[in-house]
Amino acid sequence: MRANPVRHRWQRHAVGYAFAGPALLILAAFLLYPIGYSLWLSLHEWDGYTPRWGPFVGIENYRALAADEVFWRAMLNSIIFVVVRTPLEVGLGFLLALLLNRRLVARSLLRTLFFVPVVMSLIVVTIIFQRVYEPNTGLLNTVLNAVGLGAWAHPWLGDPATALPAVIAVSVWKNVGFSLVILLAGLQGLPQDVLEAARVDGANAWHLTLKVITPLMRPILALTALLSIIGGLKVFDLVFIMTRGGPTYSTEVLATMLYREAFELNHMGVASAIGVILVAVVLSIARVQTFVLRESREGEAA
């Protein structure tokens, strides 16, 4: 008697499903259901006070967003945030990781110091940097004045031209240690025989880094970049505490706009539409990144 192949496959995977089941249930309850619910809400009008959503409006909330210049401003700011932050965070993290991968005095101490901002409370960090950026008594302007660069002193968070770069700088400072730790772990896991072979072949430090280490590190660099991109796209707390999206929407990002629409303007439908768009963007980027990564791996394997 031949065994039923479907039943056989099910039996083979049953243990796996049993182990993954609770996690999948939690994922469904706290991730998939809210995403679906947001999608549903984005097609309705709702002020968020009544227990049930309001009338069905179809894609009207999306249409309203498309016509709203603040939305496009927030989208652009989110993109700028990611495009500026990610290379800085990953690039600096990689440079620091390369440095700390060498036999340095106080290497552990330096590694810890670079990681300290990561574990610091974001609220504390933002309050510190609000003080640093304060235009009249802040540390940054005080130092600039002291070294004869008073002309550069500026109301960093109060000027629409500098507010976003100032916030991005804090984000990089806070997160570079995270990239550093991941990349350092990657560097320490590289095959030593390959590096040794390159050295024997006469590769200097520059060539070794550029032609051997960097290609070997590509998957980890891609992972770090992906995490940074996703973190940058959904940034909220840092911006909200430091500038609340201002002045004049110069630091408004998608997440702060979502909050404003939901809780200050009572447009829960519009806010949900922003949430759906944000999820779609993040998932698309993650998908593209995964695809690129796989292609690159397969290329290397070939």
Binding site: Y49, E134, P155, D159, R244
Partner: protein, 479 residues
């Protein structure tokens, strides 16, 4: 409250320590006060009214008002929840609730959750109301859009029944304060306090540079020019504190030309924001930003920064609220000679505008399981006895008239020479409340654009008007 017992003991001593003559003087003053105080004021937006001048306190005084017993009591141990957003109010709210429990209702406890800020509390409240939660029983709401939101959605109970059963309780509030909280004909919330926005100044710096308190805008500009020439920043203005602060100069001007009623009508979509008076308000904001009167980059300055600038003598003035008085005093070095004055007249011959509002206001969740007990607790906190204790602890202005005797009692422990000055300024106040959320947002952004020089006053008011029109016909009436 840590010194609650001490105060209770002090109350008991009071009668023995005061002379009969002193009591008679205080009694006469307090008896005379209501005729002045309860005169109705119909100027649309002003908050508050005149308080009597208190005699210098002598001996140990006590709260001269009886703490009235509630009409309803808990039949079994009951805890009612209260979600608010001003941490520094918690101690006095707890003190009143504990007194209430000790004196009248041992079964009733008040559990206060103080959120770190209005935004956080509003999010929590919104989630609770949407979930039809009976918690919190008591909700602190801000006048304006927040009060409209909770009342228009039917999420809170109004005070009609409470006031009908206890007319004296209603008389205890400034009529204009209640008018601000009257949405669609019902009073939806009651204020715990009232407050003002004024200019604090460093008297020693003024003396040092031979300056007088300015009475007009031109005088203020001259004071600013002198201070700038001496390397002292004129005004620390924390426009970066929240979304309301950038609008303060606008409110000030509008109040200064008595166009606050017009502003209210524009807020409610009944008049355009582009009228010459309201555009002039935006021009004033722009002028102030360019005048050199503010410390650099006001939109990048938060409240603690501004207080520090002022406390360290880097600025001679600080434009801020009465509610900041404690933080300011805590930051000042010993011997700092601080005074306050209302913002100078913004037009020739005009009055000095003092921004005024009710601060935190209290209402009851429509789904509360103990609405009667919640109302009783609110009455304890905001009623005749409670308001004296409340403002005595915080140095904020009361939510209604109080007697000279009560002020004397407050002064005894408050020991703040500025408190009577705040009380004097209160009745000249002009409102700083906007009811339509999208209009408030457009105003905040517009004022920021003026301060940073990104838009013209006319363009800003056109964008506010566009937001107002987009909001359509309002589904609520105020007052």
């Amino acid at each position: 409250m840590s010194n609650a017992r001490g105060r209770r003991e002090a109350h008991g001593e009071m009668g023995r320590r005061m002379s009969r003559r002193r009591l008679l003087e205080l009694g006469l003053l307090s008896a005379a006060a209501p005729s002045v105080l309860l005169r109705p004021r119909h100027a649309a937006a002003q908050i508050g009214g005149a308080q009597p001048t208190a005699p210098t306190p002598a001996g140990e005084l006590k709260n001269p008002v009886e703490f009235k017993a509630p009409k309803v009591k808990a039949s079994s141990p009951t805890t009612i929840s209260f979600w608010q957003y001003v941490g520094f109010h918690v101690d006095v709210q707890k003190f009143i609730a504990e007194e209430y429990k000790r004196r009248f209702d041992p079964n009733l406890s008040l559990e206060i959750t103080a959120y770190p800020g209005l935004n956080e509390q509003r999010v929590g409240v919104k989630s609770a109301l949407a979930a039809q939660s009976p918690t919190p029983d008591i909700i602190a709401v801000e006048p304006g859009a927040y009060a409209v939101d909770v009342s228009a959605s039917g999420s809170v109970l109004d005070f009609t029944k409470v006031f009908a059963e206890d007319p004296d309780y209603k008389k205890g509030f400034w009529p204009n304060a209640l008018e601000l909280l009257t949405i669609n004909g019902s009073i939806v919330s009651v204020p715990a306090v009232t407050n003002t926005v004024i200019v604090y100044y460093n008297r020693a710096l003024f003396r040092q540079h031979g300056l007088e308190v300015p009475n007009t805008l031109d005088e203020l500009k001259k004071v600013g020019a002198t201070l700038n020439a001496k390397g002292v920043m004129p005004i620390a203005y924390p426009a970066g504190q929240d979304r309301n602060f950038p609008i303060f100069p606008y409110y000030t001007y509008v109040g200064g030309i008595k166009a606050d009623k017009l502003m209210r009508e524009a807020d409610l979509g009944l008049k355009p924001w582009t009228s010459p008076e309201l555009v002039a308000g935006a021009e004033f904001v722009e002028m102030m930003a360019k005048s050199g009167l503010y410390a650099k980059g006001p939109l990048g300055v938060k409240e603690p920064d501004a207080i520090q600038i002022f406390a360290t003598g880097r600025s001679a003035m600080f434009w801020g609220g009465q509610w900041m008085r404690r933080s300011i005093r805590a930051a000042l070095p010993p011997g700092f000679d601080m005074g306050l004055f209302p913002f100078p007249a913004v037009v020739a011959g005009g009055h000095k505008p003092v921004l005024s509002s009710v601060g935190i206001t209290l209402t009851v969740n429509a789904r509360s399981k103990h609405p009667d007990l919640a109302f009783e607790m609110i009455k304890a906190i905001t009623g005749a006895w409670g308001k004296i204790e409340y403002t005595r602890n915080l140095g904020l202005s009361p939510n209604g008239p109080i007697s000279a005797e009560a002020i004397a009692y407050q002064m005894q422990s408050l020991k703040d020479p500025l408190y009577p000055e705040f009380l004097k300024l209160q009745p000249t106040g002009t409102t700083r409340v906007i009811f339509t959320p999208v209009v408030e947002e457009a105003m905040t952004q517009g004022m920021q654009a003026l301060i940073t020089g990104q838009k013209t006053p006319k363009a800003v008011m056109e964008s506010v008007e566009a937001a107002s029109q987009k909001a359509g016909a309002r589904k609520f009436k105020v007052g």
